[in-house]
């Protein structure tokens, strides 16, 4: 489509003139199918760049809705999206359509789980990780290694960022580097230590560049190392090139523990009409008084010796000391899980 349409030619001219892309590269980019998992800081920059560069078929998955606190770094969203509470995937697709009407952006408002990840990944040429948690990344790693689909890890927190390109069978996968993820709640998150927009933008720009190399078919220039940067301390590091570990449980022994695991971070069950119970995936004890202090100002909070009730954003959460919560006013499991992780924490 790009070479036959003179306007399209003009549209991508600065990209096609670049020696690494060219007209054939641009044609391949136009035919490319990319899955973006997560549509927060990394995801919005990725979708923005993918759409502008003419990647033909983009699927973007996210379970959350746009909030004011996103606008500082999530480049596709505006105040109106946050006020209306639009799902991030939907808001991103709408913004993408305004930027480039000749590419297709399919929004999927969902949690990525062992049940849907293979279906999502299977139709993509490559997968871009823009999630905010390691559980999902291990799940993506399993699905991509199983199906032989490249994926590009990206993460940013505070002033730091990391990226890794995983080509199953060719480069190290996530489990080659660390066979098990660190326990949840032990790593810094953007909510606890903040994040600089520049760290997010740099990491996602590197991911986009790796994606374009893969789409045009230039594997020689792929980054085969773990990239680490700190924009505040002016620290940019690149490790040694990484090769697959023969002992890796995933790409070496082809065991897909995260895909087959029934233990996700939490489970949801419908309980009655318009209520969902979210149970934590591990035993935990919540200090309800402490949670009440943390939620002060978020909404209307009340506590009894047995539970804490939060009314916020049209939803009512009843949280119990064993970590479970009953979310009333919805029968949407993904929304319930999202509200749980936002207010109670994973």
């Amino acid at each position: 489509m790009t070479t036959q349409d003179p306007r399209a030619d003009d549209r991508y001219s600065r990209q096609t003139r670049f020696v690494g892309v060219g007209h054939e590269g641009q044609r391949r980019i136009g035919a490319g199918r990319v899955l973006v998992v997560g549509c927060g800081g990394l995801g919005t920059v990725l979708v923005n760049l993918l759409v502008r560069s003419g990647v033909g078929h983009i699927t973007v998955v996210d379970r959350d809705i746009v909030e004011m606190s996103n606008l500082q770094r999530q480049l596709l969203f505006e105040e109106a999206d946050a006020r209306a509470g639009v799902p991030k995937a939907v808001a991103a697709a709408a913004a993408a359509a305004r930027i480039n009407s000749s590419v297709e952006v399919r929004p999927v408002v969902a949690d990525v789980t062992p049940d849907n990840v293979e279906e999502l990944v299977a139709s993509a040429d490559l997968v871009l990780d823009a999630t905010d948690n390691l559980q999902t990344r291990y799940l993506l790693n399993d699905a991509c290694v199983k199906l032989g689909i490249p994926w590009i890890y990206g993460g940013a927190v505070g002033s730091t960022g990391m990226s890794l390109t995983v080509i199953p069978g060719d480069t190290a996968c996530l489990r080659c580097l660390s066979p098990t993820p660190p326990a949840s709640g032990t790593t810094a998150t953007c909510a606890t230590v903040g994040v600089l927009a520049s760290a997010v933008a740099i990491v996602s720009s590197i991911q986009w560049t790796e994606a374009i190399k893969l789409l045009v078919g230039d594997r020689d220039h792929l980054n085969r190392t773990m990239l680490y940067l700190d924009v505040w301390s002016n620290d940019f590091q690149q490790g040694e090139p990484l090769t697959p570990s023969p002992d890796c449980p995933c790409c070496g022994q082809r065991r897909f523990d995260f895909l087959e695991s029934t233990a996700t971070s939490s489970t949801t069950t419908l309980c009655g009409r318009n209520a969902v119970q979210v149970s934590p995936g591990r035993a935990r004890t919540l200090d309800l008084g402490d949670l009440a202090r943390r939620l002060d100002g978020v909404g209307v909070v009340s506590t009894t010796p047995f539970m804490l009730r939060l009314e916020a954003g049209g939803h009512e959460l009843t949280v119990f000391a064993d970590g479970r919560a009953i979310i009333k006013g919805t029968d949407d499991m993904a929304l319930a899980r999202s509200l749980y992780s936002r207010y109670v924490g994973d």
């Binding site: 209520a275 009894t304 064993d322 009953i326």
Partner: protein, 387 residues
């Protein structure tokens, strides 16, 4: 006994703990007998066949079934009920049922009504009881093919008069289907004496067996159209499904592993005696009801007389939503109950507890007095702290 620190009051959903003999029998079956019953003459097939046949006979003797072949194994109570209703009813047939039914009766009938079956819903009283005059009136109104009713409510425990209902149904030329999900293994049932035409029940509740088991009794002279066709190990030369029971309604390999477990459960149950189970549960219910009446802000649904109910007690705690009570009992006291609608929205409408439902406390034979007392203490504490 259970090995875990839970006070289990959800026996109406499934009984727990199972007698240890159940797990032992399953292990023994899988280790030594797990052939395909009736499919060959080798020792493992014969051993499996013997287990299935023995369990069928054991169930027959428990329920007053004279011909064990008229007991058809199913995956659960729901499958047995569906087999009965879809196997029997045709467009134009009339069915009389009650407003206390579980969705396993209500949903198939609702679907059949869309296919032209005429379904009459008899409203029950607010304590879940059925007025037999209402049934009589409904049966006089038009020729009726089937009366379908629960033996006891899974929401509030109310026992319905199935013996009298059978008499009325037969007087008006109708058959009686009984959903014995809450009563098989708990109340004495004799299909011959009580003239029950179709009796559907799971194996994993009062019968103390594993999930994946259940059965349908089909009285002599009642013909059901099979819902599925397939291998039976008999008459393999025929392409049509054999007519004789249980094979007509038992296509494919039955759940031999579960049936082996059920067999052991039935041995335990018979050694204990249904009367002893009934007496024990009645005593637990009396203890529970007495204690509940002493807690301010608790409303009990269903009859207060233990003779008129099984061990399924529904309560409302004022100022609390049932779903929150359930979570609080579990998280703060380790007590497992079932809050909500219990898959029986019609019954909750009858009790006036729709749509929030109730908190259901369902003790079982192995529940202790102390566990009932602990549940009462927990409810009293919750009642003092509005949800």
């Amino acid at each position: 006994m259970s090995g875990i620190d839970v006070i289990y009051l959800d026996n109406a959903a499934t009984s727990f703990p199972k007698p240890p003999e159940v797990a032992e029998a399953i292990l023994e079956f899988l280790t030594h007998k797990a052939g395909n019953p009736g499919r060959s003459g080798h020792s493992l097939a014969v051993a499996a066949d013997a287990v299935v046949a023995e369990t069928r006979r054991s169930l027959a003797s428990l329920l007053g079934v004279r011909d064990p072949s008229r007991l058809v194994f199913t995956l659960n109570g729901t499958a047995a009920l569906n087999l009965a209703m879809y196997g029997l009813l045709r467009p134009g047939d009339r069915v009389v049922t009650t407003s206390m039914e579980h969705n396993s009766v209500a949903r198939p009938l609702f679907a059949l009504a869309e296919r032209g079956v005429d379904v009459i819903w008899l409203p029950c009283a607010q304590d879940g009881s059925l007025d037999l005059e209402d049934l009589d009136r409904a049966l006089r109104a038009a020729p009726t093919r089937l009366v379908a009713m629960t033996h006891a409510s899974n929401v509030c425990g109310t026992i319905l008069p199935i013996g009298a209902a059978a008499e009325l149904a037969h007087r008006h030329g109708a058959l009686l289907l009984v959903d014995a999900a809450q009563t098989a293994g708990v109340l004495p049932i004799d299909v011959t004496e009580q003239s029950i035409d179709l009796l559907a029940f799971p194996g994993h509740k009062g019968l103390l067996g594993p999930t994946g088991t259940g059965a349908l009794y089909v009285a002599p002279g009642v013909h059901l159209t099979p819902m599925q066709q397939g291998g039976t190990g008999t008459h393999s030369e025929l392409l049509s499904q054999p007519d004789e029971l249980p094979f007509a309604l038992e296509a494919g390999t039955v759940n031999t592993v579960g049936i082996a477990g059920l067999s052991a459960a039935l041995r335990v149950l018979k050694a204990t005696g249904i009367e002893a189970v009934r007496a024990r549960e009645a005593s637990l219910v009396e203890r529970l009801l007495e204690g509940l009446q002493e807690i301010r802000g608790v409303t009990v649904h269903g009859p207060l007389d233990s003779a008129q109910r099984v061990a399924v007690v529904s309560v409302i705690l004022h100022g609390w939503e049932p779903v929150d009570v359930g979570a609080a009992l579990d998280s703060a006291f380790g007590i497992a109950v079932r809050p909500g609608l219990h898959c029986a929205p019609l019954a909750h409408r009858t009790l006036g507890t729709f749509p929030l439902g109730t908190v259901r406390l369902a003790p079982g034979y192995s529940t202790t007095d102390d566990e009932i007392d602990q549940a009462l203490v927990a409810l009293r504490e919750l009642s003092l702290s509005a949800g």
